[in-house]
């Protein structure tokens, strides 16, 4: 099956008797823009944890570029091209923006093995980090501490880090959660401008963002895949409306998305 960069087969995770992911099959193609939606507790975060290697599945397999990576360490997966960003900003808060991105660039370029030449003298690393930051409009914040810049911009730093790692598959865990609309536009523009050959899986609650970003949508419910289809089909599906939005969300959903 050519063109498929990431696939999971019957991926299952239990915490005791609680099944948080059951038999999840998912395929991502080169350059695909896929949204992953589902109500709280649907198993989205568990799924991302299994993809990135911080959670071990009880059964099932994960393949990246045709290679089984189910038992690989997290760092090896990153080296193989599977990169994730974080929902709750987990940057190095006491480091400058540049330093945060430097760490990723240094690892990706293999400089992190070097013990004698000063970090700042590795110009290729500094330049790669700077370029990633400039391309996301972060030049002015480069030398500020991460904890001192706006929340929306911290999310951009997450993207810059991911960019430095040259991913083939990028998992964005609610990139726009908790940031004001004005800043989220900046973020979404940045995501639009990511290289086309990266397959992106974005977990997102906001239907407007999903519709703008995704060419296909997968819906999780109670740890399994309810459906995978185009955004229009998913949004007009009666089951999705009821399970994902519940009764109270029905009206908001209708006015926000269908009426927009």
């Amino acid at each position: 099956m050519s063109g498929i960069v990431l696939s999971t087969l019957r991926l299952t995770k239990r915490f005791g008797a609680l099944v948080v992911a059951s038999d999840i099959d998912l395929e991502l193609r080169v350059g695909e823009r896929r949204a992953l939606i589902g109500p709280n507790g649907a198993g989205k975060t568990t799924f991302v944890g299994m993809l990135s290697g911080t959670l071990r599945p009880d059964s099932g397999t994960i393949s990246l570029l045709g290679r089984d990576i189910t038992g690989e360490r997290p760092d090896r997966r990153v080296k193989a091209g599977l990169v994730r960003t974080f929902q709750i900003s987990s940057l190095f808060r006491n480091l400058s923006v540049l330093e945060n991105v430097y760490l990723a660039a240094s690892e990706h370029l293999g400089a992190a093995r070097h013990m004698l030449r000063p970090a700042a003298h590795h110009r290729d690393v500094v330049e790669r980090a700077e370029e990633a930051l400039l391309s996301l409009g972060l030049a002015d914040d480069m030398h500020s501490k991460v904890s001192e810049i706006a929340y929306g911009r911290q999310r951009l730093v997450e993207i810059a880090i991911a960019l430095c790692l040259a991913p083939k598959v990028l998992v964005l865990d609610e990139p726009a959660a908790g940031i004001p609309a004005a800043q989220s536009r900046l973020l979404l523009d940045a995501i639009d401008r990511l290289p086309r050959d990266i397959a992106i899986l974005m977990i997102e609650h906001d239907m407007q963002i999903v519709r703008r970003f995704a060419t296909s949508v997968t819906v999780f419910v109670s740890g399994s895949v309810l459906m995978t289809a185009s955004p229009q089909e998913v949004m007009s599906d009666e089951r999705v409306r009821s399970v994902y939005l519940g009764q109270s969300g029905h009206e908001r959903f209708a006015s926000n998305v269908l009426g927009a």
Partner: protein, 341 residues
């Protein structure tokens, strides 16, 4: 190249490009560093009567520096670091009995032995974090101590190794009563290994270590083989500690069980906290201050000198988490801008 046509403002050009990003600037030499090492050299000329004591201070300083490498920069907490100091001391001491009396190769042998030991236990030990790691390193230290105590045929047990003979330095300079050769010899080692530690901290490897210290999960999710990096710095730190132990054997001409004792491990930790953890000069300030205060306070009152050390430490831990260096940095920050270098 992610972006070719981006306008590059002055901020992103030239050697000053990393201003404001401290972690990328550890390599810059400050004027105070020159003063520090200048003072260390001046001791040789100005305080000849204290050289034996000053030599032991330097040995301890080097040992504390090795602890700072793992604790301060990689977040590896150990209560058993004396293991490596002791192995270095015993191996070097025993080697002289076997005829290996040349000092520099003897010290290297001590360092390499300790490093080998770290390479063996590190991959298992460093999977642990926090309290379990503290307990296991503590246990290892105690086991090593008891083993040395029981293996009297090898270590001399309680009596230790005495009668160590070291050949003249470079085949020329004899080891005099007044520790002149010893002081410069140990100062040379300390300075060289400090330069090594300094470049490691300033390198991309060192920056990655500090990333691991701050958030190791995140580091593995940007592709860093965390365990591998921790083992590497552990081995380097053990090498430095082993050399320090070797220097102690060579300059005191004696190796006793104390080199493996819990006191040695804990003492180094206390000196590091006193000076400032993770500041590179923490051990270099903490060890001399601790030992000098100890030296003179115990002359003043041989029974109650611990009050002074205890008071000093309590004060630092309660009011200045960054140690003595942290206090100095705070003061420097409050000075008007002009006064800053």
């Amino acid at each position: 190249m992610l972006m070719k046509s981006a306008p590059r403002d002055a901020k992103t050009l030239g050697p000053a490009a990393t201003d404001g990003s401290e972690r990328l600037n550890w390599h810059r030499v400050g004027i105070l560093e020159v003063v520090y090492w200048g003072c260390a050299l001046l001791v040789f000329f100005l305080l000849p009567q204290y050289l034996a004591f000053a030599t032991s201070v330097l040995v301890t300083t080097l040992f504390v520096l090795s602890l700072d490498l793992i604790l301060g920069f990689a977040g590896i907490i150990s209560l058993g670091h004396a293991l490596f100091f002791g192995v270095g001391a015993y191996v070097t001491g025993l080697a002289t009995f076997a005829g290996m009396t040349e000092p520099i190769s003897g010290a290297l042998l001590g360092g390499v032995s300790a490093a080998l030991l770290a390479a063996v236990i590190g991959p298992v030990l460093l999977r642990l974090r926090g309290l379990p790691l503290i307990m296991v390193t503590l246990a290892l230290g105690v086991i090593a101590y008891e083993a040395a105590n029981k293996l009297t045929w090898l270590t001399g047990g309680d009596d230790g190794l005495y009668g160590i003979v070291v050949a003249p330095l470079f085949g020329v300079f004899p080891w005099t009563m007044f520790a002149k050769t010893a002081y410069l010899y140990v100062l040379g080692w300390t300075f060289l290994l400090f330069l090594l530690a300094r470049s490691i901290v300033a390198s991309p490897f060192g920056v990655a270590l500090q990333g691991i210290r701050d958030n190791s999960l995140r580091m593995s999710l940007i592709g860093t083989p965390v365990l591998g990096k921790l083992v590497q710095v552990y081995v380097i730190s053990a090498f430095v500690a082993g050399v320090a132990g070797a220097l102690s054997a060579q300059t005191t001409k004696f190796v006793g069980l104390a080199v493996l004792s819990l006191d040695t491990s804990v003492g180094a930790l206390v000196m590091l906290v006193l000076g400032g953890v993770g500041k590179l000069y923490g051990g270099l300030i903490g060890a001399p201050v601790y030992m000098i205060v100890h030296h003179f306070a115990s002359q003043w009152n041989p029974y109650h000198w611990m009050f002074i050390i205890g008071g000093l430490l309590t004060g630092v831990v309660m009011f200045a988490r960054g140690g003595l260096i942290g206090i100095a940095q705070d003061i420097a920050r409050r000075l008007p801008r002009k006064a800053r270098p």
